[in-house]
Symmetry: C2
Subunit: 172 residues, 2 copies
Amino acid sequence: MTATVDTVREEETDAALWPIGQVAREVGLTARAIRYYQEYGLLRPAVSVKGAGRLFDASDVQRLREIKRLREDVGFSLAEIAELLDTDDTRARLRQRFHGTTDTGVRETVLREAIALAEQRLALIERKLTLVAAVRDEEAARLGQLREALAAAATATKPEAQEGKGTDGDNA
Amino acid sequence: MTATVDTVREEETDAALWPIGQVAREVGLTARAIRYYQEYGLLRPAVSVKGAGRLFDASDVQRLREIKRLREDVGFSLAEIAELLDTDDTRARLRQRFHGTTDTGVRETVLREAIALAEQRLALIERKLTLVAAVRDEEAARLGQLREALAAAATATKPEAQEGKGTDGDNA
DNA sequence: TCTTGACTTGACGTTCACGTTAAGTATGCG
DNA sequence: CGCATACTTAACGTGAACGTCAAGTCAAGA
């Protein structure tokens, strides 16, 4: 729905392309960061059409969203992300090989390679997930011990009065 | 003030205090990092006994292990960790109030405060966990789509041989 | 036309989380 | 006694991931 072009009226046949500022606002990154990602190689060098600056299409925006999540949510470094998001030319090669043929055999091969890459990515993320989950479990256990201690202290204080009120804490 | 100076004997079994280098090797951090954490306020300033340098006890080592996991595994910043690991004097106050009395009523109060802190920590970590899990699910979905595409290509190639295989991805 | 606004390419500045000397101090050992 | 070893503080250096400022380009609008 955000695909409507309101800045570039000249060439209406264009697939939707946006300048950097608009993209930045849309995905919640700064223009500087986006340029940096391009320098770094996370994003394709971008097409600079005449005086319009860099223009980004929907796939660029999608990729920027991925990058942002992997940075801010997961906490991967740009180097790790570079490994995770198979480099742009890798992606391009696969696409080209896929669309450059109608041979389903070739397409299968390409798909298998893409799947292998995706599996590696998934494995890395799941590794991270289990690490965080381990810390979570540890914290939960610690909390459980505290609650046990509280329960013990409570029964020591009022050993008879544990009818009406639950002596162990709430679960929130 | 936890331990008296006299515990700095030789290699007796008494030694509940270790110098920084030993601690560093044990937990897998550099001495510099540990000093930095002390400067930063994550760790108590440490007792420096005469020529023995800083000495660390078991609770310090434990705390360093926590810090390391929160940094390297979870990816929290030192600022976040500072919030997570309630400051050292907070912890000390709670301990002192707990052990400084035999009144179970006071102890209950202290425990409830400690539990509240632990719950906040747990909530933060679980927030992180859900973020990572979301990315994981996304990647898994992408992989599922690729597998569907592969299945489609396969059936296009050899339409008769699709007996044993389901076309949808798995749910991790 | 002149101005405004969004963009460009540098280039230097900044924060974080330490690494890396430098220079000094205390202890154990031959 | 000298030397090696492990520590100390103080200060400067570093890589990552940008922030920020300068100077210029370009197209649209009052």
